[in-house]
Every structure is written in C-alpha cells, then in structure tokens.
Symmetry: C2
C-alpha cells in the first residue's frame, strides 16, 4: 500500500544505525555488515541504498547537520543565553543519554584518514555552527569559537573519564559567564 514494499523506511534505519556506530566507534569502526545486521538486511542491501562507504557517511553527516540546523532555528529569535543553553542541552543529551561522541567531533578527530567528501561535510558543519553561534552572540566570533571548543572538549573528557557529569563540570564556568553577563 505504501511506497515501500518490504521494510518500512529501510534507508532511514540504515542511516540510524550508521550514525549510532559512527558516533561510538568512528569511521573505521563501522562496517556495512554490522549496519546490515542492525537493520535486519544483508550488506548488499546497504550498498543498494548507499553505493559506497563515503557516500553513506556523507549522507549520515548531511542528515545530522540538517537536523541540527532545524533544531537550533533562527539564532536571532533567542537571547544569547538561550542559544548557549540550547547547545548545552544538545551536547548533554549526546553524552548522558546516548553515551556517544558528537558525530562531527568524531569525524574531526579522524579527519586525517577520511575521504575528502566526508571531511568537507565536517568542515561545513563546524563553519555553519560557528556562524549560528556568532549570530546568536550578536557578532562575538571569538566567544563562539571558545564555546564550541569547550563543548566538544567537554564531550571528549566525559567519554575518556566515563563520567557524563564531566561535560557539565568542564563547561559550567563558561556557561555561567553567559548566564550572568547577558541573561
């Protein structure tokens, strides 16, 4: 009846599994067979939807970036405090609930060994997110860079120490700077 005949939204479920695994294990820790097993199909079917690994990962990256853009919305409709709070909440969920890396944090770390197609997506994401934050902070580029770095680093620390609270601890003072400065 629906357009999809067999599995419902198989392509989306492939992207789900790939994203999950990318955030946990990194580019080289993900295989077509593992993804296929997650979804309940064969690895050839993953190739059917996404012909190559760079194409698959680039698709995951685009979906992830688009979702972030959508969720963050127009930076000018929020106060700087709200904007920083939204970012904080997104990073908190990644670490505490999903126990993952931020996708682009992972890709940034591995960028030296990534297909250029994927590296380009990573650069685009950070440029866009930085631009969003800069606008949200009414033009303070240096602060935008400091904040994004603090969150990414906080995720790294939290993962290394296996302590989600480390993210909050590592960013608390920076967040406070905004809550007291411009709330």
């Amino acid at each position: 009846m629906a357009t999809a005949r067999r599995g419902e939204g198989t392509a989306a479920r492939i992207l789900d599994s790939a994203e999950e695994r990318l955030c946990r294990y990194g580019y080289n820790g993900v295989s077509f067979r593992d993804i296929a097993a997650d979804v309940g199909v064969k690895s050839a079917s993953v190739h059917y939807f996404f012909p190559t690994k760079p194409a698959l990962v680039a698709a995951v990256a685009r979906r992830y970036a688009d979702l972030c853009v959508e969720e963050l919305g127009d930076p000018l409709t929020r106060t700087p405090v709200e904007a920083v709070g939204m970012l904080a909440e997104m990073f908190r969920r990644t670490v505490a609930e999903k126990k993952r890396m931020c996708l682009f944090g992972m890709l940034a770390a591995e960028v030296g060994g990534l297909p250029s197609e994927v590296g380009a997506e990573a650069r685009r994401f950070f440029a866009e997110t930085l631009a969003w934050l800069r606008v949200a902070l009414r033009g303070d580029a240096a602060e935008a860079e400091a904040i994004l770095a603090a969150f990414e680093g906080g995720v790294l620390l939290a993962r290394a120490m296996d302590d989600p609270a480390m993210l909050e601890k590592a960013t608390a003072r920076m967040a406070a700077r905004h809550f007291t400065a411009s709330g």
Copy 2:
C-alpha cells in the same frame, strides 16, 4: 657493539610510527603492516616487539603519558600562568607543527570501540593531567577541567577547519583570563 644487533632502537621507532599514525588516523586506522613499512621491517617483527595490537597501543599510550609527565614537571614550581602556558604550547605544537590530534583526545573519541586495556590508559592520562593542572591552579578543579576541555576542543576545531590558528582563537579568551588574573 651496542646491545641491539640489527636496526638501532627498532622498538622505539615502531612506537614512533604507531604514535604518529594513531594521532592521525585513530586506532582502527593503524595497521601492523603500515607501521612495519614506516620502520623498514616486516609486520611479523612488529609482533615480535609488541605481541598484540592492544599491547602496542597501550605501550604507545604509556610512553606518551610518561613524556607528558616529564615535560610538565612539578606543578608547584610554576605559577598558574606558566602552567597554562606550558599546556598551551604543547597543544599548539601538536596541531600546528605535527598536524595531529592529541593522542588521548583521539583515543577518548574512540573509547567505545577500544580494548579495555587502552581505554584504561586514556582514563589514567586524563585523571593525571587534570590532577597536575588542579595543583598548578592551586586547587581550582573546575577551572582545570574547563581548561583541558578547551584545549582538546580547540584541537578538534582546528583539525575540522584545517586551520591551526583556530586552536589559539578558541582558547585565547580563556588563556587571557589567566594572564590577567594571576600573572
């Protein structure tokens, strides 16, 4: 004449290559064959010195951590400003000169797929470095966490954007906080 008969310090050169590759490509981006080719031996010889991959990577991690401890020295012999400056310089070299990730930043990202042996080294390194910084800052644990997170995140950003200057930009304000507060 020396103790080693054939290649001079082959084990050390294996560690050099492994460290370099780990920092660029991550755990799953490193292979015994590539390391062997760097060093000029066969992959079986890498196994001769380091029987398994977890053992090799753990050895790299220990040497790296020991070198950091040595280079940083006693935190009480420096002012807080000097201590933060030393860390800044170490991270700057990693990014600008060597164009790498910090080894433990990379391992922290990938920790979900690492042998526990290696993950434990990562946790130990961050705990030690945090402790060193806390002492250097005369007990300010929250600031120590914020600073380390800022540096690690700055490295991530610099790599993603392929712009070494991003590390300095992302940490400048934080560094200034120290240069003006307690210099």
